[in-house]
């Protein structure tokens, strides 16, 4: 089959690889009909995620059709149309049973790498480094889905892929980001990053009762999308100082909750951005924490920071004094897709949510290298690419 393989920083190639096979009883093989490039795939593309190896198939947001099931899978049959969550959960461990699927104890066969670095093991994610399991990813014609009897969501045949694909990752990530904010009536929620996850975080924040939602980005087309579809007020941080603008828009208090939908390749302005860019290039810090710093200073006293952008390692110059003295609450983590997917599907079926607006590009799988390039460089107004194998 054809698959998108990582061959080094800023180098992905479409290669011929063997087809996946059933390796365990609870496996299924899915023929992929649509797979997206997630913003967090850009961290891999850029070479910032440790333990990605040359030749790894990448990608984790996908849907398709069941073509083979293992003997332990009784609830799926060949021909079922399914959306699969990007994080892999066994459904049996204490964490899965408490609906904390991305903290699964049993899905990561290379847990010792993570245990050394993080002290514990979290769930595996398709195509997202060997530290996170080393599973082959979804930007391919077929994929092996472990523990397919749990988590996988069957979807009806009459809706197009673009309506359904994002319940695999981007929608539940944004939704969980808003949920972690514990939004109260009248709250103002600021969202850093107006890519797909940021858009869904803003929409979700309104659903949960926020009175005002503010989107922060530097690309006009993303800010336009935030205004048009998420009904957000917007800040272009290259034009105005985001911290000052937020104060001004919240009566001098600061937002009640702040959502990071950017992660470890955050951009800032001026000297601080230069500092982070340099340290990251010299491998003196793994992650650029610009958004974290800005949120800690901008948030109102006693407010909440919800971190959904991906971080992998170590950050530098964190204003912990601000966070401590202001009594901030930090909540974060990979999303627990399996917890949210069914209700999100229902919202789409009920006509309450149409996520297809985020798609700016649909390209054949063969054009993945081009797609990565324009997404990373934000060329051609690229916000979200869906690849069609």
């Amino acid at each position: 089959m054809k698959a998108v393989c990582w061959n080094g920083a800023n180098d992905v190639r479409v290669q011929s690889v063997p087809d996946p096979t059933i390796l365990n009883p609870r496996d299924a093989i899915i023929k992929i009909t649509s797979t997206a490039i997630c913003g967090s795939d850009l961290h891999i593309y850029g070479g910032y995620i440790p333990t990605v190896q040359q030749g790894d198939i990448i990608g984790h947001e996908f849907m398709g059709e069941v073509v083979e099931v293992g003997k332990g899978v009784n609830n799926l049959k060949i021909g079922d149309r399914v959306v699969v969550p990007s994080t892999i959960g066994c459904g049996n461990c204490n964490y899965c049973q408490r609906d904390m699927w991305s903290l699964c104890d049993n899905s990561n066969p290379k847990g010792w790498i993570q245990e050394k670095l993080f002290g514990n093991i979290t769930s595996a994610i398709y195509g997202y480094s060997h530290m996170l399991g080393g599973y082959a990813g979804a930007q391919a014609e077929y994929i092996r889905v472990p523990f397919a009897d749990v988590g996988v969501v069957k979807v009806p045949p009459d809706l197009p892929d673009e309506m359904l694909l994002f319940i695999s990752d981007a929608i539940p990530t944004g939704y969980m980001g808003a949920e972690l904010c514990d939004i109260q009536p009248g709250d103002t929620v600021a969202v850093w990053g107006c890519g797909a996850v940021g858009q869904f975080a803003m929409i979700s924040a309104y659903m949960m009762g926020a009175e005002k939602v503010i989107g922060i980005d530097r690309f006009p087309e993303r800010l336009e999308m935030a205004k048009k579809f998420a009904k957000a007020e917007v800040i272009n941080y290259e034009e105005v100082n985001a911290g000052e603008a937020l104060k001004e828009m919240t009566g001098g208090r600061g937002p009640d909750a702040c959502i990071d939908a950017v992660g470890l390749e955050a951009h800032g302005v001026g000297l601080e951005d230069f500092y982070d860019q340099t340290k990251q290039k010299l491998r003196l810090e793994t992650d650029r924490p610009h958004v974290l710093r800005e949120m800690m200073v901008a948030c109102r006293k006693g407010g909440t920071l919800s971190i959904m952008g991906v971080y992998g390692g170590f950050v530098d110059k964190i204003p912990l004094g601000a966070a401590f003295n202001k009594g901030l609450t930090f909540r974060m983590g990979q999303m627990h897709g399996q917890k949210y997917m069914h209700s999100l599907l229902q919202m789409i079926l009920d006509g309450k949510l149409d996520p297809s607006f985020v798609v700016t590009h649909q390209l054949p799988l063969e054009q993945a290298p081009h797609a990565y390039h324009i997404f990373q460089q934000k060329k051609d107004n690229c916000i979200k690419v869906v690849l069609k194998p």
Binding site: D19, L23, Q54, G55, N94, D105, N108, P109, G133, Y135
Partner: protein, 232 residues
């Protein structure tokens, strides 16, 4: 050794009380602790199972060991690891007690054959397609709580170990603790056996216990072996 210490003067109170709890469970009190601290798990377990001559058994062995260590011979490989498994102690004990099940998650074991209630025959994988074999006896067996075993005289590798099952707080399942000790023999076998657990025995035992947990909780062991990639 990473945790267990019998030193009562230790300032680490929680650790000391933990030690006392499971020492009383085992039934031998200070002797096992001494054995563990001084590097003679086998002596302590044997003595406990035998019920007598405990102190002498433990100290004598450790003296020999210390002498051997001093001249750089026979460094014992000793590891301990604990994992919490979302299953009852009964279920876990039952699976483990049939030693023939162990190779399904312990990659360093090739096979185990159970002869009778007490004795079993173990074959372990060693580097370069070698194997090492030994007979082992169960020393002590408390249903749903504790099993200890040790190789009998004439084994390729003198080894001993125990597994303890303890209910975790709340509904978190069962805490499973494993302690293993291998005393590599001298001579030609030594180098082979020393690598039984690779470079990092703690990690290997950790991996094996994680596979035990996967098998017990999820019914299968997560793997990526055999999946496609673009590696040449």
């Amino acid at each position: 050794m990473t945790s267990t210490s019998g030193d009562k003067s230790s300032t680490n109170q929680p650790e000391a009380s933990e030690v006392e709890r499971w020492a009383s469970l085992i039934g031998g009190g200070a002797m096992v602790l001494m054995g563990l601290r001084q590097g003679s798990l086998r002596g302590a377990l044997t003595a406990l199972a035998g019920g007598g001559l405990v102190y002498q058994g433990a100290t004598k062995q450790s003296t020999i060991q210390k002498a051997q260590e001093a001249i750089g011979l026979n460094q014992p490989i000793k590891v301990e690891k604990t994992v919490t498994i979302n299953k009852s102690a009964e279920e876990l004990y039952r699976f483990w007690h049939d030693f023939e099940n162990l190779p399904t998650f312990m990659k360093h074991l090739k096979s185990v054959k159970v002869y009778d209630e007490k004795r079993s025959h173990w074959i372990a994988n060693a580097p370069l397609d070698n194997t090492v074999e030994w007979d082992a006896d169960i020393l002590e067996d408390r249903e749903n709580e504790f099993i200890s075993w040790a190789s009998v005289e004439g084994a390729d590798v003198d080894n001993s170990g125990f597994v303890r099952f303890k209910k975790a707080p709340g509904d978190r399942g069962t805490e499973v603790k494993v302690v293993l000790e291998y005393n590599p023999p001298g001579g030609a076998l030594a180098a082979t056996v020393a690598k039984l657990f690779g470079e990092e025995p703690e990690q290997q035992i950790g991996d094996e216990l994680r596979r035990f947990k996967m098998l017990m909780e999820a019914g299968e062991i997560a793997t990526t072996e055999g999946q496609p990639s673009g590696r040449k």
